[in-house]
Structures are given as structure tokens and as C-alpha cells.
Symmetry: T
Subunit: 160 residues, 12 copies
């Protein structure tokens, strides 16, 4: 007997669970690299990007919590331990040491773009497995697409 039973039938449960677990890893990883850039950024846009990164981190942490609790609510145990995050994190990660502000802007555009692409696939999947989870992923995508735009708008004119 499991501690928390599910309100979803089996195959829907598995598909939904995977979508939530993968999103959790993306968000926890994003919150760590967002802070890494927040601390190590240098350059004339230091203050402006330093503050903007904390908005990314707040978004990532807040949705990580919602996503993990959504998994638990469906009877699926979320896994956000350090080794899990490290081994499954698939977005771009910054290099060690100080980071030039322009590098940070590029990094965030890329990391957010990957995260969004992965989310759009999960929106498709959960359309059939769980509309409630799908709705959560849609809201998250809206937030990350807004963040992506704001970093890309900083990155102009850019070399093609």
C-alpha cells in the first residue's frame, strides 16, 4: 500500500509523473544556475542583470514547489535531491568563475529556450493524461517565455 493514492488511472499517472519530475529538475537546476550567474556576473550591466536574475530564481523556486507538490498530490514522489538534479539537469550551465554580463545574457536565453522547448512537448503529453497538470505547465511556459524575451531583448544588436 502506498502512502498517498492517486486520483489518476495508471498510464495517465505515469506520463504525468514523468512530465512533472522532468520539469522539477529543470526548475531546480535553473534556480541554481540563476543564482550562480547572480553572484559571478561582472560588466557594465552588472546591477541590472544581477536584479533580473533574482526574478528568474524566484520564478523557478516558486514553480518548483508547485510542480513537486502537484506530483505528491497525484501520489507520485518528487525527487529534487542534489545528486538527482546534477545527474539529470539538461539545460546550459555557466562555466566556473566570473561571468561577463553579455555571456550571462546569452546563457539565460539558451537555457530558457531549452526549458521552453521541453515544456511545450510536455503540454502535448499531459493534454491526454491530466488537464490539471497541463494547465500548470501552460502557466509556467508563459512565465519562462516572458523571461526569455526580456533577456533576448537585452541582447541586441547581436552577431547573427
Amino acid at each position: 500500500m502506498t502512502a498517498v493514492t492517486s486520483t489518476l488511472p495508471e498510464p495517465a499517472l505515469r506520463a504525468t509523473g514523468e512530465a512533472l519530475q522532468d520539469t522539477l529538475v529543470d526548475l531546480l537546476g535553473l534556480s541554481l544556475i540563476g543564482k550562480q550567474a547572480h553572484w559571478n556576473i561582472v560588466g557594465p550591466r552588472f546591477r541590472s542583470i544581477h536584479l533580473q536574475l533574482d526574478e528568474v530564481v524566484d520564478t523557478a523556486r516558486s514553480y518548483a514547489d508547485t510542480v513537486a507538490e502537484r506530483a505528491a498530490a497525484l501520489g507520485i514522489t518528487p525527487d529534487g535531491r542534489p545528486e538527482t538534479v546534477a545527474s539529470r539537469f539538461a539545460l546550459q550551465s555557466p562555466k566556473d568563475g566570473w561571468l561577463r554580463d553579455t555571456e550571462v545574457v546569452h546563457l539565460l536565453v539558451e537555457a530558457l529556450e531549452s526549458a521552453i522547448g521541453r515544456l511545450r512537448t510536455r503540454i502535448e503529453t499531459t493534454e491526454h493524461s491530466d488537464r490539471v497538470t497541463q494547465d500548470l505547465l501552460i502557466s509556467l511556459t508563459a512565465e519562462l517565455e516572458k523571461q526569455r524575451w526580456m533577456f533576448q531583448a537585452e541582447d541586441w544588436p547581436r552577431e547573427g
Copy 2:
């Protein structure tokens, strides 16, 4: 030339930098395992410990930020990326899946106790290398010792 110069002389800088980097890893790891327990805990004390864990996570996140910015302020680049946290994290970590409330209480007592022991050593070290950093580690120790007490007080009577 480095992006941020230091107000500390070389050997003091190295010792202080190590103390800060190691503390950062402890705190980021603690914030991740605190959330892991927050999501996966089950048992009659679910709500009470679920809420208490968020106070640990808030403390860990807030001090992680202060500690990393203290490193940057001394011209040392903090490293809080996923792989760094995973590979260097030295405190107790929960097993996968649902966690019984009594297990969570034990885990937190142990993890906090390890963190405190390591911090007390760093307080000694930084006495000689940087009084400003030492003061920060003292405040953090006070917070973690308070958290340790509250989890241990939950854990009574216990098997010897």
C-alpha cells in the same frame, strides 16, 4: 587582472575563501534536502514538520545568498552549480520516495549537527583570517543550532 580585487592579503584570503565555499555547498544542499523532505513527508505530524521544513529552507537559502555574496565581495568566485553541490555535499541526504515523519526528524537532527560541527571549525579558522566572515558564520551557527534544537525536541522520548 581579476574582475574583483580583494581587501584581504593572500593567505587569509585562501582560508576565508575555502570556509565560504564549503559553507555555500552545505547550505545549498541543505535547502534541496529540506525541500525534498517537505514534499515527501508522510505521517501524523505531516503538517507540523512540513511547515517547519520551510523555515529551514528559508534560512538555508537566505544564508547561502549572503555567504556567496561575501565570497564575491572578497574577490573569490562562489560555485553553487548543480554538479558542484552534488559532488561536494557532505551532509546526510534522504532516501528516495515517501519519508515517515519520524525519519525526517532524525535526518534533520543529523544533517544540522554535521553542518554545525563543520561551521564551528570554520569559526576557528576565520578568527585569524577574516573577522568579518567569522561574524557571519557565528550568526549562521546560531540559526542552525536553534533549528537543531527544535527538531531534537520533537524527537523525544527516543531510543537510546
Copy 3:
């Protein structure tokens, strides 16, 4: 002539209206039994569950208002009068008198589970009749599933 006309065509209107009216009764009933348990609970988890029940009541009251105003917005008169709530309420209700904390936890898991099952059917129905109403029912389901998880997590280990 009706006081408030509808922006929905007739068959869609009827299906949506029923979904909203039935949800309204579930929520008003839930708010009453949540308060009943809040006042009559006894046992070692008194304070913890007493507080948690007020979160259920707040959720139920707030969504009842939104659901009833959604009906009115579509030109359908919502009915939340005492006799209507009593005669149509279909979830589990507590017995008279003091309630042991473990009983309260079971009761809430069951009542929330019934409410969720009924909502999931209405999410199917309103997919075809009114996407705006569907979106509201999806948010409500997310909230109630979260509440259900938290009560079930309190209820462990339990007899199979």
C-alpha cells in the same frame, strides 16, 4: 425577458449551468462540514488539523463565490440557499458531537476525493460547452487535489 442574458448558446448553457450549480452545492457543503470539524475536533493533533481545516474552508468559500458569480455571468441564477445545500449535498458529512482527529482526517480525504471525482467529470463536459468555465473547474480541482494529498499524508501508516 430575463434580467441577465447569456453569451452562450442554449445547449451549452444548460450543461455549463448544471456543472456550476452542482459545484456550488459541493463547495458550500464542504465549507459547512469543514467548519463543523474545525469546531468539534479533539485529539493530540487538535491544533494542527484545526488550522488546516480553515484553509479548506477558505478555499471552499472563495471558489463558491467565483463559481456562483460565473453562473450569474452566464445568465444562470445560482442557488445556494440552506435547503438547496442540504437536500443536494452529496459528499460525506460528519456525525454529531466531538470528532476524534483521526476520524476528521479520514472524513476529509473521503469528502475531497468525492468532490474531485465529480469535478473531473464536469471538466470533460465543459470542454465542449464552455472553455472559460472549464478553466475555472481545472483550477479548483488543483486546489482540492492539493488539500486531499495533505490530509492523506497525515493518515499514514493506515490500515489497508
Copy 4:
């Protein structure tokens, strides 16, 4: 043995208990019909009365909680379940469907007047059985008499 003992002697307890239970039903019923009118009102004073009704509902809900917890504090189990409220509610209740604003004003004046008359009797009773409960009923009466005045002042000139 009862779960909660009383600080009042037996006959005083019974009289006080009845006064509190009857008041609880009046208030829960009032909160439901207040919301019913809030949702179904139409006419040129829609917005003004719609907002005023929420103040009645807030008063009724907040005092219902205080009254029920006062009963529990005296060792009496309050009963606010849907079927109890429906079967014992003795104030005026609105008809089904849209309600003209003038009708709503009349309804509230009448319902509040009945509630006040019943409370004034209970103030007499509790003078001898429990001064603490009496003080609570006095405050509640002051609130409802203020609400009654404001609805009656809206209702002028009126047909004799």
C-alpha cells in the same frame, strides 16, 4: 467522560448551550441567504447592495465562528452541518432566481429584525446563565442592529 468539560454548572450550561446553538443556526443561515442575494440581485442599486451584502456575510461568518467556538469552550458541541442549518433555520429566505434590489432590501430588513428579536430574548436568558456568553450576544446584536438600520434607511419612502 466527555472530551471537553465545562466551567459552567449544569442548568446554566443547558440554557447557554441552547442560546449559542440557535444563534449559530441563525448566523450560518444568514450567511447563506446573504450570499444568495449577493449573487442574484438585479436592478439600479445592484452594485451598492451587492457590496453591502458582503458586509452582512462577513459579519455573519465571523460571529458564527466566535459563537461556535464559545460553545466548544463551554464543553458543548456546536452543530452547523448542512441538514441542521436547513431544518432549523427560522429567518426569511429569498425565493429562487433573480431578485429585484427592492425585494432584497425588504428581505434583509425582515431577516435581520427576526434575528435581533431572537437575540434579545437570549440576552435575557444568558444574564442568569453565563455573563460571558451574554456579552458576546450583546456585541452581535449591536452589529445586526446597525446592519438593519442601513437596509431600512435604503427603504424610504416606503408604502405603509
Copy 5:
């Protein structure tokens, strides 16, 4: 090369872009006529409707911002300049000079009804082109339908 690239493929992008741009014009126009009525209204319901109009304006302004930033997030440049709003605005607009309160109520019912009809079409379109945008339009429709109900409820009894 464009300043902000899109996460949507081409045909979906065009359809979504049109839906957002048309919604932006509706909302900016609505905010202007809402204020116009707020300033020019006269009659015995002056204060009540004057206040209600500011809620419409707040809704319109806040969603206009979200809608325009959604367009930008998709790499589409939103156009909310005075001449664009004036030339493309398709809802009812008030006449010059003082406006009787009853006229204002009619005007708002009509303008909101048009806006809602147009939004319901765009909800259909974006179902296929962008679920994230569709979700935003659904929330906006819920808000405007609520506002429409409140103005129509004010408008009773009315000449058929």
C-alpha cells in the same frame, strides 16, 4: 535578423499574433472609453458607476500590458500607438459631453458584449496555434464576462 526570435513556427505565429494585436486594440480602446465615461457620467447613480468604471479600466490596462508582453515574448511587435488604437477600435464608443448614467450602463453592456464575442472567436483560433496564448484569452474572457454581468444586472427592469 529580428531582435526577438519566436518559439512558435510560422503559421501558428501569424494567427496568434493577430489574435493578440486585435485584443490589444480592444483593451486599450476599452480603457479610454471607460475613463471617458468615468469623467462624464451624471445622474443619481453617478458615484456607484463612476467607481465601477475604474474597475473596468484597471482590468483593461492590466490585461493590455499582459497581452502586449505576450506578443513581444513570441517575437511579435505589439502596436498600441494612438493612431492604431483610433483607426482599428471596433467597440461602441460614447458620444461627446455629459453622459446620463443609464446610457453609460447600456454602453458598457454593449461594448463588453462585442469584446467577448470577438474573444471567443480568438479562443477557437489559438486552440490550434498556441495553448499558452489561449489560456491568457480565457482568463481575460472570464473577467470581461463578469464585468458585463454586473452592468447588465444594473440595467433592470429594461425595455425589451
Copy 6:
């Protein structure tokens, strides 16, 4: 000549003064033993009761201030010095050292019950000597009876 004259005649003043001074000692003592339990409690309900005790302390401190200032307002000098509190405190006091959570619950039920019994006598006395003071004692009794219920409800099932 006294520094502050009284608005009450002599015998009423003496009776009222005694009621207030005795209540002051009860409340200051209660605030001290409440904190003692708050600091020394251990057991699985640590966090829940630890927090609840601070509500008792807040109530006791806030009413102690009101009661003492009421005495001063009547021209009677309140005495809340350490030796006065210690020598006249008549409620139950905890033993030295760690306190098991179940012990704390019992202690609070008993201490509050004694305080309430003493207050009910003073409500009788001040009915004849000063209605204004009586009203204050009635409010305080309501608060302490609510606290007593909540601790007793925690204490179930209990040995007869």
C-alpha cells in the same frame, strides 16, 4: 493627597482594586509559566504546542497591561514586581527542566481552569463595585476559556 484620584467611591474602590491586583498577578504569573513551557517542552507535539503557548503568553501580557492600567485609571497603584508575583501567584507552575508535551497540556488546562474560576468570582464582585472593570474581566474570561478548550481538546482520549 494622592497622585491620581478616583472616580469610584471608597468601598467600591477597594473591592475593585483587589479584583484587579489579583488578576494582574495571575496574568503575569501565567505569562512567565507560559514562556517556561514554551522553552522547555519536548515530545512529538513540540512545534504545535510551542507555538500555541506563545498565544497564551501574548494574551496574558496584553491583558496584564490593560488590567494594570485600569487599576491606575481608578487611582489604585498596581503591583507587578518580581517578589509580588512570586509570593502571590496561586496557579499551577511547571517543575524544573524539560517538560513532556503531554505534561504541558495538562498543566495549561489546570492553570487556566484555576484562573477562570477565580475570574468568575471577581465578575460577581465587580458587578456591584464597577461595571467598567467587570466588562474587562468578562472579555478576559472569554479569552482564557477559549484557550482552556483548545488545550483540553488536545488532551483526548485521556485517562479518567
Copy 7:
């Protein structure tokens, strides 16, 4: 037919009405002389008493509103027009021009003492005519007795 009917029978109504009307005049007058002293005070305690007077004025204004609305709630029209306040005001009033701080302290002690004496008589009267009004006058007396003490405590040592 009167605009607002009463929930009190005739003789009780008259006695209660007089008590409320007389209290209203005392409070409005007190608010005016409190402000007069606030503006015209001079002397080394200027700032301290200047601030304290605003607390008297706030109390007087807030209770004047409650008292007048209590009259209206009983179907009695309160009269707080300038000429009524001037012709019926019976408390001490300051002389024209600058006022020495010691004078202000004396004036307030006297004015508050008169107001309290008059209120204590009305508490007796309303015991028989309306317990709800009596409760309001008791609270007001508590407030004014607190203010009187604070001004008299300022006035020491004083000439006998």
C-alpha cells in the same frame, strides 16, 4: 410613519435616546476643545501634550460616530449640528488664545472627569432601557477613564 423604526419599546427608547444624544454632544464638544488645545498649547511640554491631545480627539471622534449610528440604528435621529453642540455642551472649555501646557493638563482632567460622571449616570439608566447601548457606554467610559488618568498623572506634584 418614520423612516427608521425601532427595535425598542417606547419608554426604553426615549431614555436610551437621551443618553445617546447627550453623549454625542459631549464627544463632539470634546473633539473640538481637544483640537483647540492641540493647536494653542505652549510651554516645555508642548510636543508631548500636543500628541496626547490627538489621541483624545481620535477617541472622541470615533466614539461620536459609533454613538450617533447607535441612535440611528434604534430609529432616533442624532443631532450633531454646530448650534446643537454649542448650546448643549456642558464640559469645561478653554479660554481664547495661547494656552500654557499646565492649564491644558488641568482642563483635560476636569473635562474628562465631568464627561465620566455623566456617563456613569447613563450606564445606570441604560441598564434598564437597553443593554446593547449600555455596553457601548461602558467601553467609552473605560477609554475616557484611561485618558483622565494619563493627564492627571502628568499633573504631579500639584497644589492641593
Copy 8:
């Protein structure tokens, strides 16, 4: 020697002092009649005008304080005692007893119009005697003209 000397020369001081004293009486009187109407109003616009009157009262009280302190700041003693307000108040005052909502609207339009006319004369006078006082009277006029508009807009169509 006076307690507070002036920063203005003599003739300017007298003219400014009169303007301020007369404005003070207008505002204190306005605050009293505003409250009188707030308490005694009846009719279908009761709630709406009842709330609006409190905004007039807040404006009048707040500016009365500023105006009186401006006088004191110039070394002129302001006089706001009951008998002064009653004997010098020159605006329209309501009749005794309940007031029909339409009457209240007319009364406020008239009273505000008189107050504004008197203020416009004082703006002329203080142009030459004290620009600082003039600036204060200009702000006050803006506020009262806004209030006048809102009451007159309520009063339409009206018999001409």
C-alpha cells in the same frame, strides 16, 4: 511678549490671519454637517451618499488641522471652540431629523459652493499678504471643487 512670534509683517499678518480663521470655521462646520447628513440620510441612495459624505468629512477635518496649524505657525491663535464655530458658521446647515437623499445632495452642493466662493476671495487677498497661505487655500479649493462636482453630477436631471 507673545508665545509665538510671526515671520510676517503686521498688515499682511492680520489679513492672512482672518483668511485662515474664517476658513477654519467653514471647515469645522462642514465636518459637523457632513457627519449630521452621514447619520440622518434616508432613501435609495443611502449607502452611496453615506460613504461619500465621509470623504467630505475627512477632507474637512484634515484641512482644518492644516489651516489651524498654519495660523499657529504665523503666531496667530486659531479658534475652533464650539461656540465660535456655531456663531460664525455661514454655510447651509441641514434641518433636524431624517434627511431624504436628494435633500442631502442639494445641501452639499450649496454648502460647498458657498465655501468655494469664500475661498476664491481669500485666494485674492492672500496673494498679497502671504503666498504660502495662498498655496494652501488653492489646494483646499481644488479639493472642494472636486467634491462639489461629484455631488452635482449626482443631481441630474434636476428641476431648473
Copy 9:
């Protein structure tokens, strides 16, 4: 008969009315182009200017409301409808599409400079027609001159 009469004589009224109407159009236009730039800006100063533009928009919206209500208060109907704003707007407007951050800075300096020049003329005019309106235009000019400075300070060094 007009709905709202004026407190100003005829020629003064016309001049004041024109000054207010023209200012209203400037401010509504400014709020639209400020938002247009807020949404379409790109370049390395994106975040900084994006945020600053919202301060311009807030200022413009808030003063537009005050200016329009000032007109209404004088009995003049303000006109802020889409077509009016579009046809009479005389400040610089941005081109369609993405806007480089440097362009946005230039645009705002120019638009604000035009608006200020026009306001300074109206300050002259209203000196003779209405001092109350003049005072409002002076405050607005102070705000816009502050905004102009901040954009021009961003624009350095610049080509002559």
C-alpha cells in the same frame, strides 16, 4: 441647463477649459507611446529603460485623471476618446516595430520637451483665468521636467 455648472465666469472658463483639454490629450497620448516603447524596446539598456518608462506611464495616467476631473469640476466635459487622442496628439510618436534603446531615449527627451513647452504656455494663460488649475499644471510640469532630465542624463555623451 447643463449637468454641472461652473464656479468660473465665462471667458476664464473657456481659456481654462482649453488648457485642460489640450493637456489631457498630451497625457493620454504620452501614456500610450510610453507603453509602446515599454513593450518594443531592445538593446543593452532594455531592462533599465523598460522600467523607467513605466514611471512615465504612471505619471501620465495619474495626471490625466486629475486633469480630466479638474475639467469636470469646472463644468467642462473632458474628451479622451480614442479618435480625439489620435487626431489631436501633437508630441513625437515612435515608429512601428522594435525600437533600439538609444532611439527610445531620444524619443522621450523630445516628447517630454514638447509637452513641457506647451505646459509652460498654459501656466501663463491660467495665471489669469484660474489659479487652481495653474497650480495643477505647475506640479505636472515639475514631474515632466524631472523625467526629461533623467532621460537626457542617460543620453550622454551624445552627438551634437
Copy 10:
């Protein structure tokens, strides 16, 4: 070419610039001597004047910022560096060491009186050079005259 151009013509600019620069020095100096007195005051009115001085300092700092930014807005560079403040400060300054409370009161009356006299001259000057700046100086004068009154009212009776 200057970094910030001016919206004022040359001679007006110079006169306005001088008025602003001189006011800036007065305010920065006042904020420093206000703090000096705040820290060094002794005597029975210590607490009361200590708090009042912080209100002077807050006023001085806040207006210094507004005045300096007004200068910048006109294209004039404000100068508030330590040496400028020290060499041009023309108001009374306290002696070194502890300051008796009566001395502090005298000092503030004198310093504020000088500041006000100088401001009144600048109000004359800016009438012709810049009405916007004049309006700012008028508001500041109102604040300082209020502060002067409050200190002088403390200083009574005083030796002639």
C-alpha cells in the same frame, strides 16, 4: 555642449539656479546640525526633543533631494559636497559637546528663522524666473514655518 540642457532661458536660469543651490546648502547644513543636536542633547526633555529633531532632519533631507534634482532638471549641477556645505552654510550651528535641551530649542528656532527669511526672498526672485521652482520653495517654507512654531511653542515662558 552640456550634458543636460535647460528648458529655461538664460537670465531666468541663473537666478533660479542660485536660489536652488543656496537652498540646498541650507538644507544639507540643517540636516547635519539637526542630527548633531539629536545626538548631543541632554536634559529633562531629552526624549521629546530628540524625536522632534529627527522630523526636522527627515524634512531637510527629503527637500534637499527634491531641490537638488530640481536643479539638475533645469540643467544646473547642484553642489552638496562636504567642503561646499561647510564653507557656505550660513545658519546657526551648535557648539561642540553636550547640549542642554533649552539651548537646542533656542538654536532650532534661530536656525529655522534664518532659513525661512532667506527662503522668502527666493520666493520673490523665482516668481519672475521660474514658477515651478517657486512652488517648490513655497511648500518647503510651509514645512519649515511649521517646525519653527513647534520649537518656539516649546520655548515658553521665555526671557524677553
Copy 11:
């Protein structure tokens, strides 16, 4: 086995425990005598010192809590029961009855000075036994030294 183990070795633990327990008694005693003086003070500085005493009480209560929880965190049971506070309290205590304001000022200077002297010794002790506790005692000393200064500054000129 003890309920809460310690992170400190034995001799350090005993020394630290004594320092904390003694500080706890000083602070609880100080909070009681601070309130005693707050209630019984008379004289021309009544209001000013009455308010200042509440700041002492707030400081004492807040640090008492921190100090006691620090003891618990180290595995030492704090003792703050009435009899303990009374028998071990070593600072100056006020006499019974009304207290002249000058007496209160002297009393506080003396009591705070004793407390500070004792704390400075404990700062020495804990330097060797526990740096974390030492840091807490240093912060507390800073607060009490600030309070001592403010009371002594009130006490000037004084008899040598």
C-alpha cells in the same frame, strides 16, 4: 539520556549555561520592573517616560526569549519561573506605589548600569566557552547601553 543533547563540550557548556541563565533572570526581572514603572509613574514627564519604558520592556522580553532559546539550543533548560526570577533577581527594584518621574529615571539608570556590568563579565567568560553565545551577549549589551544613555541624558543637570 537527556531530551536535548549539546553541541558544546562539558566545561564550556557549564560556563555558557550559567551566563545564559543569569542573563535570563536579569531580563525577565527588568521586563517586570519596567512595566511596574510604566504603570506607576507620575510627574510632568509622565507620557514621555511612560512610552520610553515600553521600549525597555520590549527589548527585555525579546532578548529574554532569544537567551532562553539559546540555552535550550545548547541542551540547557532555562528557568524563568516566578519564584526563580524573584529569588535571583539582583538589579534595583522600585518601591511600592506611585513613582515620581525623576525617581524612575534614576532607577532605570541604576538598573541598566548593573545589568551592563554583569553582562560585560559574561562577555569575557563566553569568549572562551562559546563564541556564538558571546555574540548574542554583545548585541544585548549594545541595546542596554543605548537605553542607559537615553535615561541618563534625561537626568541632567543632576546633583553630583
Copy 12:
């Protein structure tokens, strides 16, 4: 006899007093030059640095107050008068007139670096003279080192 006696012995007092007085001058000077730069900065980073400078000024003002009150608490009179600040200020000061943003960044890095160097020496000194003062200087150093880092991070890449 001095107004405020000291809790420190003589030589410790002198050393501590000098450390505090010198720090006070550094902080007051820093607050003045921070504001000077805040007002006079020009260049593409205007807004970002303009805002950051206000954080420096807030830190400097807040610590200046704490440092000066720490001196007073030890019986040492702090000196923060204009001439003292000007003559003893030893950090970098900006030139007159507009300041390029890059210049401002350099200036702040240098001024903060000097201030930090001076503080580190005083931390050494006060280790022996007063641990309480030392603790304050340590906190201040942490704040200024954080500010220094943020300005230096803005200043990259820089010429070596």
C-alpha cells in the same frame, strides 16, 4: 561632572571614542558624496547607478546614526557638524559638475576601499578597547565591502 558617564575605563574609552568619531566623519562624508554623485551622474548607466547610489547613502546615513549614538552611549560626544565633516573627511570626493557614469563607478570603488581600510584598522584597535563597538564596526565593514564589490563588478573590463 559630565552629562553622560561611561561604562568603559579611561584608556579604552579614548581609543574607542576616536574610532567612532573617525568612522562618523567617514560615513557622513560618504553620504554627502553619494548624493552628489546621485544628482550629477550622466551617461548610459545613469538610472542604474543613480539608484545604486541611494543604497550607499541609506547605508551611510543609517550607520552614521548608530555610530554616533554608540559614542553618546559611552559618554563621548559625537561631532558631525558641517565644518567638522569638511575638515576631517579623508576619502575621495567628486569634482564639481556633471559626472560621467564610469567616473562615478571609479570614485565609489576608491572611496569605499579607503573607508574599508580605515575600518579594518579600527576593528583591530577596538578588539582590545570595546568588543561591543568592534562588533558594530564589523557589521559596517561587511556592508561596505558588499557595496565595493558591486561597484567594482560594474567596472569590467577595465584598463589595468
